[in-house]
Structures are given as structure tokens and as C-alpha cells.
């Protein structure tokens, strides 16, 4: 067999010592409840196993998720693609086209049955027999279901695959449909956002390849590690919100001083995402930092939740004496968003479960 560049090779090349590697294996084994002999098993697997094949398919979408993915700064996307996974099919960057491209799908299904990750960007339209999105002469939804059959797990990239996004906004003329409404028997990890943050995307992929399991998900199927807190909870403008210092109109004195954008329609208080912590494009900024309110792009149905600039502008100003949590709750209450309860079940359970309920 030809020399495989294994996960072990990759991390050694990136400067990880043998000693650290062994320690990592012990910890991983312990955290997976594998007992003392587990470490050797983990080490053996990481030293010999092939890179996980990833099939990345595109339905109705704008390719912003792919574009975001290639912006990843840590890890660099070239390292992800060359060393961490085997991105065997991705319409946007693959060399092959047509017949030669389609042949890869069949080969992956047969050779890596149950072992590949299906990453889906965009969603299938169901109107017109599915022919609003034609792929290889057939409805995209058929290809999606066909490749899902033998996948280990599915990653729903972005708001399109997770919730439907812009083409599913009212009146949804194509009947664009989130993928968990057409695939019911596989674990689906939703990584919402329009697009998701690059490092969150590579973080999800490398979590799976590093720890050999799926991340812990919330009730809506999102990884807790990146989606369990609101933008508002960690927003650096939060003290201005608490102090009642708000931007009242674009480019006013408050805008120049970096006050809170809540009155300009900011959806930070009702949006679960990592923007205010991880930030964007290598940590350079995020929407609120650059002066525009959050539009809530990682939330379900955000396009139909009213105009971006008006929804929350009529609330009364908060005084400095008010308690921050009280205000936060009031704000969330205004738009009727409940705090999301997080499911205790781990993703490991999900992956073995044949009948996951993704209707939440």
C-alpha cells in the first residue's frame, strides 16, 4: 500500500512531539471511557487510519459557506484539505467535472460505506419535481438522499442547509427545504450562519477527525461549543447597553463612540453564535464591531422576522441602574425567543441512534 499521510504524520510534521501525542491519546481514551488499553488503540488508529473522506455537495445556495471555509486561519484550509480530511468531492474546487466527478460519488459510497462525512451547502427545492436545482440531469434532492444513505454523518453548512435561508424566505417560490426535512435517519450537525465563521467550520471538521466523534449538540442540532451563547452575552458593546448608551442614528456621536446598536435593530440579544467571541476573518472584527447591528443570520427564519432596522427600535431606553440580566431577558422577551434548552445526549449517542429526532 502506498504511504498514507496519517493524522499522526500530520501533527508530528506540525511540531507535536511523540510525548505530547501519547499524552493526547491517553486523555482521549480516558475521556471516551476506554480504560487503560484504550490509549494504545487510539494511538494505533491515529497512526494508521486514512483521512476521513468528505463529500461536499451544493444545492440551492450562494457558495458563501465554501468561501468562508477557505478563509480559515487556524487551521489553514490548505492543511485541512491536504492533511486532515480527504475532500474527495466538492463542486466548487474539484479538478474533475461531469462524468469523472460523478464517478467519485459512487466510488466513495462503495469504498467508504458508513465512513464518509457528507457536508451539504445549500438545500433542495421540492417544487417543479425538484428541477429548480438540476444536478447531472436529475433533481438535486435525489443525489442528496442517495449520498446520505451511506454517510457516517451529515454536516449542514450554513443557514441554507440548516434552516432554508434566503431562498426559503416567504413566499419560498421553489419550496427550498432544510436538509433535515428530507433526511431523517442520519445524525445531522447544523452549523448555521450566513455563512458560518470559517474557524467554526474547520473547528467542527477537525473536532470530528481529532476526537473521532461528533460534537455535543443542542436541541436544535447545533454544536454547543460554538452556538450555546448569544452574541449579546459576549458583545464588547454590552456595557453601553447596560449603561443605556445607544446609537440613535447612523454616524451620530454615539456611533463614533462605539455605543450599543440595539436601537438600530441589532439582533445580538436573540442570536446564538460565536461572532462576538471568535470574531471574523482571523479575529479582525465582527458586524457589531464594524458599526452595523447583527442581522441574526444564524437564527431560523431570520429573513422573515421583520425589517433589519426596525424590529427592536421602539423599546424604551434602559437606565444605568437596571440589572443587565433583567434587561437582557426583557430584550429577549420582546421578540419572543425562549432560551434554548440544551440536550444532554451526546453526539456519540446520536451517531449510533437510528432514529434521531431532528424536529426540534
Amino acid at each position: 500500500m502506498a504511504a498514507i499521510e496519517t493524522f499522526y504524520d500530520v501533527i508530528r510534521r506540525q511540531g507535536v512531539t511523540r510525548r505530547s501525542f501519547t499524552k493526547f491519546c491517553s486523555l482521549t481514551a480516558a475521556s471516551l471511557g476506554m480504560g487503560p488499553i484504550g490509549a494504545a488503540k487510539v494511538a494505533n488508529a491515529l497512526e494508521t487510519k486514512e483521512r476521513t473522506p468528505v463529500i461536499w455537495m451544493h444545492g440551492l445556495e450562494c457558495t458563501c459557506c465554501s468561501e468562508s471555509f477557505i478563509r480559515s486561519a487556524h487551521p489553514l484550509v490548505k492543511d485541512v484539505v491536504l492533511s486532515m480530511i480527504s475532500l474527495d468531492y466538492d463542486d466548487t474546487i474539484m479538478a474533475a467535472a461531469g462524468h469523472q466527478a460523478e464517478a467519485i460519488l459512487l466510488e466513495t459510497k462503495e469504498k467508504y460505506k458508513g465512513k464518509y462525512i457528507l457536508a451539504v451547502e445549500g438545500n433542495p427545492p421540492l417544487n417543479e419535481g425538484g428541477m429548480f436545482c438540476i444536478d447531472g440531469g436529475k433533481p438535486f434532492v435525489e443525489k442528496l438522499k442517495w449520498m446520505a444513505e451511506d454517510a457516517m454523518a451529515i454536516i449542514a453548512w450554513g443557514a441554507c442547509a440548516s434552516w432554508g435561508c434566503v431562498q426559503a424566505a416567504k413566499p419560498n417560490p421553489t419550496q427550498a427545504t432544510p436538509i433535515d426535512k428530507v433526511i431523517h435517519d442520519k445524525p445531522i450537525i447544523k452549523v448555521p450562519g450566513c455563512p458560518p465563521i470559517a474557524e467554526v467550520m474547520t473547528g467542527v471538521v477537525t473536532y470530528i477527525t481529532t476526537f473521532g466523534r461528533l460534537p455535543e449538540l443542542d436541541r436544535q442540532g447545533r454544536p454547543n461549543m460554538f452556538y450555546s451563547q448569544r452574541i449579546h452575552d459576549k458583545c464588547y458593546r454590552r456595557p453601553h447597553f447596560d449603561a443605556g448608551q445607544f446609537v440613535e442614528q447612523w454616524d451620530d456621536e454615539s456611533a463614533r463612540k462605539g455605543h450599543c446598536l440595539y436601537k438600530m435593530g441589532c439582533k445580538g440579544p436573540t442570536t446564538y453564535n460565536a461572532c462576538s467571541t471568535v470574531r471574523w476573518n482571523g479575529g479582525v472584527s465582527f458586524p457589531i464591531q464594524s458599526g452595523h447591528g447583527c442581522i441574526g443570520c444564524s437564527e431560523e427564519g431570520f429573513w422573515d422576522k421583520g425589517p433589519f432596522y426596525e424590529r427592536l427600535t421602539n423599546i424604551h431606553q434602559f437606565g444605568v441602574e437596571r440589572n443587565a440580566d433583567e434587561i437582557g431577558l426583557a430584550a429577549a422577551g420582546v421578540v419572543g425567543v425562549a432560551v434554548v434548552a440544551h440536550a444532554a445526549a451526546t453526539a456519540v449517542k446520536r451517531i449510533v441512534s437510528k432514529n434521531n429526532d431532528h424536529s426540534a
Partner: protein
């Protein structure tokens, strides 16, 4: 599903000749009004999906017994309906919806949209906002062109596997002979080759799997291939830096934030809270990125184009409409709010029938100029011999295959171009099919005799030893994009300096809020906004009624380039560009990819409006 499924649908599958689908086809074919002879009597070759593009595209061609393409059919195979979704929404939100038309040219639709709304409402933006918008738009041009060349197009010219047999020392010598780019030592190339070898030997080729490696259509020596692969990876690292300009001013990329009336980021360089606004640190970051991208263009992108081009300079196919009919709207206003020809740094004009000495003015408001046809598109008009101006656009979807198509409605084997065959409409300028994009812009600028376009073009042609006619080719399209990336970098330097000078003079304004509130708007109004997206001429037409969007139409670059035939039988730019190209092996459609990719197709953008049940959208009275 079975292997049969794959092979039956498979692209590049060679099938027997279809029955003649174009009217009056004989063995010698039929002549189109725009000067092409179509003959579909040969073998039919299907490529679906066309990869390394944005969205979904299918191409079918007929090749004769010498494997020369004699008929070409391009089909947009997706439709999303953004414009109908916009109906009845707040015009100030439209930029966010339309920006999601494309995540690749991310931002340019948003800019077009805010311009359309500002035009309709009569909003003037501050000078700083103009400079910042230009910086964002130009950063997009550079980013898009670099990613397009290295990641979507280069593999049509570069054989990755051949790079394994390169001599790293000779590669280093080659790289140093064309550029002073520092990453060019023998050790650098040796390390890269080692990594590449391990990658290929692993048997898991990832995105390079099933490429056409070893095809005779590849012409670079191994050393040039290794250099190009190195730059593929370097460009992948570097492109993420360019977009930080969007992140600074717009908060994120893809899909930065924009604002009707200006830009959302405030400027504060002195006072309390400056750290939360555009301040000296932010400006320095923009400044350093501009330096880097100018260097990358000068030392990597342009030298690569020249080096790779020199091995392909007799592969001058793919000109299509570029030497006949091209269209540019112009963009990058020097001063805010002035969209006249003389104030736009990118040129505007239409050239028809190859008459470079006659440049026609372009008016987006004239109902006789830009019109869309649906005779061969999956939409319905009352009278399909006529076109409609976007302000009066109608879109009623009507999905059906032509009588000579093979397969069924949900399992297309071969399309019938004699009937309806694409989700893309056919826009025409005074009835002419037009090419748009970097080459179109540069041909217009060249024809206008503007030195900033004419001189670089002449230098490239001179250095490659090619005549002017060589510009009208796949290679010319690819070279024009590189020249434009370089041009855009220097314009960014200009607008950055201008922004600094304006701030220095005491002007901190970034937004005009006089007409922010809908109650200040007229009851009914309409507007048009235009830009030059990386892929070409882009415009949005909006009608506003009672503070809401009443109609919204986008005619986008790929609608122009990827258009199907029109009622007169004119073929679109993609189709024209494929005509008469010889293929080395029709089972490996490298030549088709090469030329189609040179347009940088974006299929998500070529969407159109319809109502939910296919009803005609209400017509509106205009004031």
C-alpha cells in the same frame, strides 16, 4: 443506485447524434444572426456538473468527426427566486437579500442594491462612504480574480501530477527568472514537492481526484507545473488576508454589511471611543493589506499569467463574442454620487459587430436598450418574440423540455436547444447578445484609447509576441482578469490616500440619514443601480411603492454570458466561445472547462423573478 445511474447521466458521455433540433438544420448547419454556424449532426458530449464554478451549470456540445465543437448549448440548472422574495419588503433591507445572490462576488450585489435604492430615493452619500465603498468593491475584484485564476481556473492549464517530476532547482531558477517574489528557493520547492508527493502517494487525492492529469492538452513542463502548484497554495493562504478589508469596514466576509445612505462604520480618529470605530489602527491594517495585494499581483499573479500563457500562446480558441459584441456599464466613481462616464474609472460602453471604432453609450433607463427574452428559457411571456425592459419585467416559470430532448422531465439525458432549455433568461442590448466581464471592460477601455487599459494590454501582447486579435480568446479573457486585478490594487492605493486626505481635512461623515425614514419617501418611485462585478456588468432595477419594494429585477453578468438562444437565433457568450474549438479527447472535456471557466461563471446570480404560483407579477404605475 447503480453504476448505470452515473454513466447514463454522465458527462462527457459520447452519444449518437440527436435529431436536428435547430430549425432548418442541414448537414452543413444553420447560420446564426451573430455569425456562427451551428451543426448538431455530430456526436453529443454532455458535461454536467461543470465544476469549479459558482452554482450549477450544464454544457452540451456536438463534435464533428475531427472532434471539433460545431454546436454548443449552455444551461443554467438552478433557480432561487430572490427577486420575488423581495417583494413587499423594506427597500433598506434589499442589499442583504441581494448580497446572498452570490457569496463569491460577495458585496457587489449589495453595492448595486444600495445604489438602486439611493437612485430611487434621491439620496446622496458622503465622500468618505464613496471611498470606502470603492475600497471594498476593488478589494473584491482583486480577491475574486486571484481566487478565480488559482483555484477555479489554473487546473485547466496546470497538471498537478506532473509537478512531482520537476527538478526543484530548475523550478527555483524558473521562478527567480520571472519575479523577485521571495518564496522561490530550491529548498522551498523541494519541501513543497515532498509534501505533494506524500499527498499523491497516499492515494487520497482529495479535490485533485479524477482530474485529467497526463492529458496531452496540458503543455507546461514539470517545473512550471510545480511553480504553479506552489502559487495555488500560496494564493489560498493569501486570499483570506485580502478580504479583511471587508471585515474592517463591513464586519465580516463573506457577506459584509452595507447601508443605504453610506457605510455603517463610523470614523473616529481622536476622541473617546475611537477604539470602537475606524481609527488609525484600522486604517493601518487596510494600508498594509493594500501593499500586500499590490505585491502579490506584481510578483506572482502577473508573472504567472505571462509564464503559463507563453506555453499556450497558440491555444487561441474561445473568443466567441469578445471580438464582436461586448458591454460594460462602468464603475468606481472617482467622486461620490456622479455616475457619468467621465467620473467612472472603469469604462462604460457597448461595441457591436466588432466595430471597435464605434462605442455606443449605454442607458439603463432606456426601454429600447436592455431587454430580456425567454423564448428558450424556462419562463413564459405573452409574446415570446418580444423582450421586456427590467422595470417592466415579467417572470412566469414554465419548465418543459423541447420535443427532441432525450430522457424525461426529471431525468434529462440530452436537452433540445430548439425548445426551452435553461433557467437563465436571454438579455440583449438593442437585440444583440453581448459578452460582459473583465475582457469586455478592457476591450471597451482599449477601444476608447484610454492609456490605463491600452498600455498594459499592448505590453502583454508584445511580450508574448501576439497580434491584437489574440486578445479575443480564452487566453485574452484570463489575461484581462489579471491585468484588472493589478489595476484594482493601484486604485485601492488611490482611494485609501483619498480617504486619509479627506479625514485629515476634517470630514468624518460616513452616512446621510436625511431620507432614512420611509415617511420621507415619495409614494411611488423607481431607480436603477449598477456596478461592474468581477464577472461583468451588473444592474438592479427597483420600484418602490408605499415604502415597500413593489418590483425588483436583477440582470446579472452570468445572465448575459450564460444566456441561451433568443428568438432571432443569436447564441450567448458561453455558447459562442465554445464554437469551433478542437478537443484532444471528448471524453475528457478539458477544453470546454478551460473556456467556460475563463468567464468565471456564477450561476447563483443568474436567477429571476416569479410569483408563487407562476402568476405574472402585478404591473405598477410609475410616477
Amino acid at each position: 443506485m447503480t453504476q448505470q445511474r452515473i454513466s447514463r447521466n454522465g458527462a462527457a458521455e459520447v452519444a449518437p447524434a440527436a435529431a436536428p433540433a435547430v430549425a432548418a438544420t442541414g448537414s452543413a448547419g444553420v447560420d446564426t444572426p451573430n455569425g456562427f454556424r451551428l451543426d448538431n449532426s455530430g456526436k453529443r458530449v454532455v458535461v454536467d456538473p461543470v465544476t469549479r464554478i459558482e452554482g450549477h451549470l450544464r454544457v452540451e456540445v456536438n463534435v464533428d468527426s475531427d472532434n471539433v465543437i460545431r454546436n454548443a448549448v449552455s444551461t443554467g440548472t438552478m433557480w432561487r427566486g430572490i427577486e420575488v422574495i423581495l417583494k413587499n419588503r423594506d427597500p433598506r433591507d434589499a442589499w442583504a437579500f441581494t448580497e446572498r445572490i452570490c457569496g463569491v462576488c460577495t458585496g457587489t450585489h449589495a453595492l448595486t442594491s444600495v445604489r438602486a435604492v439611493e437612485d430611487a430615493l434621491g439620496i446622496a452619500i458622503p465622500e468618505n462612504a464613496n471611498s470606502i465603498r470603492n475600497l471594498m468593491q476593488l478589494a473584491l475584484q482583486v480577491h475574486d480574480h486571484i481566487v478565480h485564476f488559482y483555484h477555479l481556473h489554473a487546473l485547466d492549464w496546470v497538471d498537478v501530477v506532473s509537478a512531482l517530476s520537476a527538478d526543484p532547482k530548475a523550478t527555483s531558477a524558473l521562478a527567480q527568472s520571472i519575479s523577485s517574489w521571495p518564496l522561490s528557493s530550491p529548498g522551498y520547492y523541494k519541501d513543497l514537492q515532498t509534501r505533494l508527493k506524500k499527498f499523491v502517494e497516499s492515494g487520497q487525492l482529495g479535490p485533485f481526484k479524477n482530474g485529467y492529469w497526463g492529458s496531452k492538452a496540458y503543455r507546461l513542463p514539470p517545473e512550471a507545473n510545480l511553480m504553479a502548484v506552489a502559487h495555488y497554495l500560496e494564493a489560498l493562504d493569501f486570499q483570506k488576508e485580502i478580504v479583511k478589508i471587508h471585515t474592517i469596514f463591513g464586519g465580516k466576509n463573506p457577506h459584509p454589511n452595507w447601508l443605504v445612505g453610506g457605510v455603517p462604520c463610523a470614523i473616529n480618529i481622536d476622541g473617546t471611543g475611537a477604539v470602537g470605530a475606524i481609527n488609525m489602527e484600522r486604517l493601518n491594517l487596510v494600508d498594509s493589506i493594500i501593499d500586500q495585494l499590490i505585491e502579490f499581483n506584481d510578483k506572482v499573479y502577473i508573472p504567472d499569467i505571462m509564464a503559463i500563457g507563453s506555453f499556450y500562446k497558440d491555444w487561441l480558441y474561445g473568443g466567441g463574442l469578445s471580438g464582436k459584441s461586448v458591454l460594460a456599464y462602468g464603475d468606481v466613481p472617482e467622486h461620490a454620487n456622479d455616475y457619468t462616464d467621465k467620473n467612472l474609472l472603469l469604462p462604460r460602453g457597448a461595441i457591436i459587430n466588432g466595430k471597435l471604432d464605434e462605442i455606443h453609450p449605454v442607458d439603463h433607463r432606456d426601454p429600447e436598450e436592455i431587454q430580456e427574452f425567454v423564448t428558450h428559457s424556462w419562463y413564459k411571456y405573452g409574446d415570446e418574440t418580444k423582450g421586456l425592459h427590467p422595470w417592466d419585467g415579467v417572470t412566469e416559470p414554465h419548465y418543459e423540455l423541447g420535443p427532441n430532448a432525450k430522457g424525461t422531465k426529471t431525468n434529462i439525458i440530452e436537452l433540445d436547444e430548439g425548445g426551452k432549455y435553461s433557467w437563465i433568461k436571454a438579455p440583449r442590448w438593442r437585440g444583440h447578445a453581448m459578452e460582459v466581464g473583465p475582457l469586455a471592460r478592457w476591450v471597451v477601455g482599449y477601444a476608447q484609447g484610454k492609456p490605463q487599459f491600452k498600455e498594459p494590454v499592448e505590453k502583454v501582447l508584445h511580450d508574448l509576441g501576439l497580434p491584437t486579435s489574440a486578445l479575443f480568446s480564452t487566453l485574452g479573457r484570463t489575461a484581462a482578469r489579471a491585468l484588472e486585478s493589478q489595476w484594482a490594487g493601484y486604485q485601492m492605493r488611490h482611494f485609501f490616500d483619498k480617504l486619509i486626505a479627506n479625514i485629515k481635512a476634517g470630514d468624518l461623515a460616513t452616512a446621510n440619514v436625511e431620507k432614512w425614514e420611509p415617511k420621507s419617501w415619495p409614494k411611488e418611485t423607481k431607480g436603477v443601480g449598477f456596478t461592474e462585478a468581477p464577472r461583468g456588468a451588473l444592474a438592479h432595477w427597483i420600484k418602490i411603492k408605499d415604502g415597500k419594494i413593489d418590483n425588483y429585477q436583477c440582470v446579472v453578468p452570468t445572465t448575459w454570458n450564460g444566456s441561451p438562444r433568443d428568438p432571432a437565433g443569436n447564441i450567448g457568450a458561453f455558447e459562442a466561445s465554445l464554437m469551433n474549438t478542437p478537443m484532444v479527447d471528448p471524453a475528457q472535456p478539458l477544453e470546454i472547462l478551460r473556456t467556460i471557466h475563463s468567464f468565471d461563471p456564477c450561476l447563483a446570480c443568474s436567477t429571476h423573478v416569479m410569483s408563487e404560483d407562476g402568476q405574472e407579477m402585478a404591473k405598477v404605475q410609475v410616477r
